[in-house]
Symmetry: C2
DNA sequence: TAGATTGTTAATCGATTAACAATC
DNA sequence: TAGATTGTTAATCGATTAACAATC
């Protein structure tokens, strides 16, 4: 693959995994790694690793392999993790709060700048040092502050009107935990879906299938 | 594809989506749907839908299409959602609590029967009507109660020993929210990973790439 | 130099799409 | 019967794996 071609989602989805394994190796003091070694560690293939990396550039050296700290830095740069995209989070329920507290935004290129909810009980409260604002203020907030992305932790039925406000304010990047299908309504948005219920259903299918074939 | 061949993960991962769209249609009173209509709603292709469904059986009728309630029931049965697999959840931190409160286990084939944590502050407390047990009791619990699956909401470094106890108790099915790679250590387990940090990194890559190409 | 390992091209494999005969 | 739409086979497309010349 030439460096200018569009990168496939299959490759993109493997990048965070390279990032994690290389970070661990780097922290363990590893200086070099061959595609064969890395493949063994990750349970993938040397061929795939070399193909994937060569989508972005020739980071290795023939006869030697890859310099671990250098490759780690390259992957970080490719992922764009040194950015500080401003993000707002919508819906401070159980899931929203867990996302705020659990996810390492700062080291993943994001800066969580505001939280919104419609529940008066939550408005004004504090989650990880960020005050929850009234969702009625969303539009005015987005027009007076830079917002690059929105994290949607709302129930499905609340997403549509909120997404509309965000879209009208020019926001095109969404981390979506609801089952509302943003790409069906807007065709110029970047959406990363996290569907916990779908994931659990997949597990249910696999356990069921396994029991049927093995018993 | 013949009905006896192994179903590919690509197909399996689409099943929950069919389930969702058919449930909605059913609730809206729809009685029939053609693969063309469904494809339009879902943003996929009629060909793919027919191929996918025919992995499991001929659920349609030529010249008519598919009976919505019947197809919904078939998909539910394929997913195995009417099962009640007993599951335990490990790690009642922010993420664990959100999972307990947010996920609809009952309608996804699971029954959450116990919560475990090592934090004395949490042990004995109550989440959604389930008392948090001391993780020291995990082994004895798993040997005296039926456990089909484990939901791992622990930090990465705590997973390994806990997974070992679970594996030794015969548990082979994991919903894993940590970055510990279970399939690298155990080769006969079913693992469904939810990697929130990876998902966010993917979003970071895409927003970065988008800004580079469009600006 | 010899050995190792990359970068890259070619071959294979799998998944998606297109086409159409079967049939309701 | 005519029209519609499935189930299924064939064609295409894309992703993974294998092979090997380049080169450190």
């Amino acid at each position: 693959m030439s460096k200018n071609d569009k990168i496939s989602m299959s490759v993109i989805r493997r990048l965070p995994r390279y990032y994690r394994f290389l970070l661990e190796m780097k922290n363990n003091g590893a200086l070099r790694v061959s595609s064969r070694e890395l493949a063994e560690k990750m349970g993938s293939s040397a061929s795939q690793i070399r193909q994937d990396l060569n989508c972005f550039g020739g980071f290795g050296q023939q006869g030697y392999g890859y310099d671990v700290p250098k490759l780690f830095d390259e992957i970080s740069a490719i992922l764009g993790l040194d950015n500080r995209y401003n993000a707002v989070l919508l819906g401070v329920g159980n899931l929203g709060r867990a996302v705020v507290k659990h996810v390492a935004f700062e080291s993943r290129g994001f800066n969580l700048t505001a939280l919104f909810d419609k529940n008066p009980q939550l408005i004004g409260s504090d989650v990880k040092g960020i005050t929850v604002k009234d969702i009625a203020q969303l539009k005015s907030y987005c027009t007076t502050n830079p917002v690059d992305a929105a994290f949607l932790c709302l129930p499905r039925e609340s997403v549509e009107p909120v997404a509309e406000i965000l879209y009208n304010c020019g926001i095109r990047c969404f981390w979506n935990f609801s089952h509302f299908d943003l790409t069906m309504k807007y065709n110029d948005v970047i959406v990363e879906n996290v569907h916990l219920n779908d994931s659990l259903m997949t597990l249910c299918y696999r356990i069921t299938e396994d029991k049927l074939t093995h018993n």
